[in-house]
Symmetry: C2
């Protein structure tokens, strides 16, 4: 086939050795790359009980079969490892240009193993790779590291790195592509830091081959014609453009998930950003939508535009979730996260957790400087800085809400809003019940990516028609947890796992059919939506197998208790996630996945079907 070279780069940092291995086409077709291939590699190579921050963990950088072809949404790559935050599968994707560049440099996957005795970076260019000294980069902010590497290697390189927070093993440190794109969740930056691998600079000149050029060009033309109608809002106001609308629905996490509406929302909505701080719009590789923000300010906070601007998740986590309505402060905290390499979601929720601790008197006498209360914008920014630097209380909070709560005690686990140790993102299960099912069962803990945002599905019209490819006959309601809803959840979640393997953006409005044709045209395979759904199912099941070996039990697949508490007031007054309904939905989901409904363990027949026996 034409779509990939089948080359895997393996870097052993302990021995300082680089080898190129070949990937079998059949294996790539079963897993596609991204999360699929990475999880397979982790399953093969990371032993039970491995220390996530030890040398036997693997850190996998995995583009997918779609990464690097010049089509909208195809600039992404996956990153995966055993997570230091959850002790389970760590997996996240980042956009930008770095993943495409890695493919153009001739590699379909990069596996990092061992641990370097001293800081290093990788320099990968046109099929070769070198391990280089990075002592001069250690401790520098991400922008500085990228600037230095460009001086060393040339202006057109692309850089992926872990940031100072990764160096300091903050358990929710992220991996940063091109300064402004993040494989945010599950602490992959800490794994990178633990290996003393500060950065990976890449440069490649070889276009990624496409098997059916004519078919491929047709699809790109279709998207060029369609995106303005379907995704103009994303271009205009970014992902934060619906923050106020979500608040009006009652689904905006506010003050550590105790409310679903935020009285200050208009001040932090993406539209306000457009009207005030916005300095530009940026894109990922080959994408016309340009949903990425660039913000700039001189005072009261000096905000460096090199670090882009906040996504919806960051606005809500650092904003409403902390009760903060100061957009400049949010943008500053977002900049700190980018410069230091922190996941904005876990950071914001951890700050909110600390704020609730203060409110409840748990942390009042903890720290001389005083800790922020809900709504304290300046205090929020300062605490983000302390977490990144592991200063004072920040050192404890850098362990994540669950570990911090276990240290603080006094019942604080009740407001450490996480699943499997990972902080809950900015989507409210009391608005979208199936999302709560997703938080409970996701292999990576509370994760909004491979999950059901079913606002798109409850409407009549085109969304219902689009769901027809799965044989679903809509609409279904946001609070439904019945068989049709679980089926929708199951199919869409598996589709997301496919997308995270291929790897392709969720935001580019490809239809299911177009995306199937895109894979076909790029790879030359006679594929179908059926095969791609089965890939997603295989990846989800493989992730379960990996987690089982790391100690997963059925009891972990639960939603945080906060979501069983009814809202008091607001648009969702009195609404909570129904415990029994969720339990029934979870059993149905297990069954539909071919997992035992009691234990959640995959059945032998399903493993055989997926080729995982």
């Amino acid at each position: 086939m034409a779509g990939w070279w089948g080359r895997l780069l393996r870097v052993d940092l302990t021995r300082g050795r680089v080898v190129v291995e070949s990937l079998d086409e059949g294996l790539v077709r079963r897993l596609l790359g991204g999360r699929g291939l990475a999880t397979y590699i982790l399953w093969r190579e990371v032993p039970a009980g491995a220390d996530p921050l030890g040398p036997e963990n693997r850190l996998v950088f995995a583009p997918g079969v779609l990464t690097g072809v010049p089509a909208p949404g195809c600039g992404r790559n996956g990153v995966a490892a055993l997570s230091p935050l959850t002790g389970r599968l760590g997996s996240a994707e980042a956009g930008g240009f770095w993943g495409a560049e890695l493919k153009r440099a001739g590699f379909d996957a990069l596996v990092v193993e061992g641990r370097s005795p001293a800081p290093v970076y990788l320099w990968i260019h046109d099929g070769v790779a070198e391990i280089r000294d990075a002592r001069h980069l250690w401790g520098l902010e991400t922008g500085e590291v990228e600037a230095r590497l460009r001086e060393e290697l040339g202006p057109r390189i692309r850089v992926c790195q872990c940031g100072p927070a990764g160096e300091k093993l903050v358990r929710f440190a992220c991996v940063v592509n091109d300064l402004t794109h993040f494989a945010g969740r599950t602490g992959l930056g800490a794994v990178m830091g633990s290996k003393k691998l500060r950065a990976i600079a890449v440069r490649g000149e070889t276009p990624v081959p496409v098997a059916d050029e004519a078919g491929f060009r047709r699809l790109v033309r279709e998207m060029s014609a369609a995106w303005k109608e379907k995704a103009w809002g994303l271009h205009e106001h970014g992902t934060a453009g619906s923050t106020a609308a979500l608040s009006a629905q009652g689904g905006l996490p506010t003050r550590n998930f105790r409310q679903g509406s935020f009285e200050g929302v208009e001040k932090i909505d993406g539209r306000t950003m457009t009207a005030t701080l916005l300095a530009g719009r940026e894109s990922c590789f080959a994408c016309p939508i340009r949903c990425k923000r660039v913000v700039r300010a001189a005072s009261p906070y000096r905000i460096d535009p090199r670090y882009g601007g906040p996504e919806y998740e960051s606005v809500a986590a650092l904003g409403s979730c902390c009760g903060v309505d100061d957009l400049a402060a949010i943008c500053k905290a977002n900049e700190i996260c980018a410069a230091q390499g922190l996941d904005t979601i876990s950071t914001g929720v951890t700050v909110a957790f600390a704020m609730e601790c203060v409110e409840r008197g748990v942390l009042s006498s903890w720290h001389g400087k005083g800790l922020p209360r809900f709504g304290d914008a300046e205090g929020m920014v300062e605490l983000v800085r302390q977490i990144a630097a592991r200063e004072g209380i920040g050192d404890l909070l850098a362990e994540g809400t669950l570990r911090a709560a276990r240290f603080f005690g006094q019942g604080s686990e009740a407001w450490a809003v996480q699943v499997k140790g990972q902080e809950v993102p900015m989507h409210e299960p009391r608005l979208k019940h199936a999302l709560g099912l997703g938080y409970a069962v996701s292999p990576t803990g509370a994760d909004h990516c491979h999950n059901l945002h079913d606002t798109a599905w409850i409407k009549e019209g085109s969304a219902v028609k689009e769901a027809g490819v799965f044989g679903l006959q809509g609409p279904v309601s946001l609070h439904d947890l019945g068989p049709d809803k679980v089926r929708l959840f199951c199919y869409i979640t598996n589709w997301r796992h496919f997308q995270d393997s291929a790897v392709v953006c969720y935001f580019v409005p490809w239809t299911y059919g177009q995306l199937t044709e895109l894979v076909r045209s790029v790879t030359g395979w006679n594929t179908s939506l059926f095969e791609l759904e089965k890939v997603g199912e295989r990846v989800a099941t493989l992730a379960r197998l990996f987690n089982m070996r790391q100690g997963w039990t059925r009891e972990e697949d639960v939603l945080h208790p906060r979501f069983f508490e009814p809202f008091a007031g607001g648009p969702l007054d009195g609404v909570s996630v129904p415990r029994e309904g969720l339990e029934g939905a979870l059993r149905l989901y297990y069954g539909m996945m071919g997992w035992d409904p009691d234990t959640g363990i995959p059945t032998p027949a399903r493993l055989a079907e997926l080729g995982l026996s």
Copy 2:
């Protein structure tokens, strides 16, 4: 949507009443018509323990969403009822023109219930239906009935009927479309006869609507260009054109399945038919392939060309399976089956059963006239006639091999080669092991239609590429019963159930992708291969639910013991179906279908997924 009117015609023969009901589009999309819709109707309306030949049975004639659109393969309709042969789901499809005409007359389904006090026929034309006296037709051969009805109603009507064998309740009587096309299996002609419904004449003038005319025409053009390369053999020599090749492989049922090769095969192969008796080639509605044979002879047998000519199944069942190498005798017996309304497969295997009884001395003194031995062509023809007429021993044999064997005793069940009471068709599980799995688990007993003929799958190249749409990576071997083979079986069998619901011919070489697009273009639905596979899975599961209510147990899902006996000599010398391998494959199949691997009963989660809770 444009693809169907959503009109179901219900005829109560007890009350002499005709009503038109409407079909919900959502229901049609979940089941498509054909076997899917018919099984649903039976499941809703036929109570546990109903007498298959009593008035409470339903006889459903079901075109599908593709029936009647002017594309190759779209001339077929399903027929279904509780089977008098198996006591389980009775379901078969017929080609020709009648099903398309029923759609053109404005109906998507016809449900016949009750029992008429005297013989009747139905006259359906342009949206209306009448029950008419058929006493003048009772007892006449099918050709005579069609001629009389054309005199009464006009030359352009299409006739479906049960034949004299159906009138006499031969348990494997078939339903005849246009004299030369048969819903052959499971005794549906006997159900029609039991209701005293001799024929259904149809005439319609309204073209079946197509939602996307341009897309539809493109697909038809593609097939017009492709079929000569892919299906020329079918045109040239019919389905019997590979008889000799199958014998050379060792997979031609010979002398009641005791051998797999037939020394006289060259004399009965389709190529010989082409060179000797062939008088013409006929087609089904809108099909250019014209795989249907017309044979003619004056002596030693006068063979009436109105009844077409034998398919492969008929050549083998009435030929090699009886040790008969006289093609003219086979064609004569085939003509009798068509004129009388007998399933050629069950007829041939029943004759072969009788021959083995004679050989083993079980029937030597039974009948004054003497019974045929293997190889006795004239005796075979005569016994076929006696079965149709229920004369002498024919009256017993008309009950099918299983009931006859139970009557004869003396261990004769050991060579009554059937599953669930239905005689095994002309495909040899010792050549194709997964086919044996199919015989065991099929809801209709031994059935070759919704089953895996995996000769097409073991080769490299295009067939393997085509299977890629299911994520299968070939090749797999004929004797494989491992996970990949069971997965292939599962997916293909479900696809066949889809095809039998849509309803569309297996022989027209549509790719999976083209067929998906065909459904999309005709219906206007945003469908996919995923949805259509799920329809097939739903239909197979619904059939299981229906059978469970009629008394099905796990013990029924077995292959006849003959196939566990190794062949002695021939290309497959020493080969038998491995018992343990088959048992393991069956458990895997159950599991992959979401059925309990021990009991074969669908799990609650799978029922929920398929909307069958």
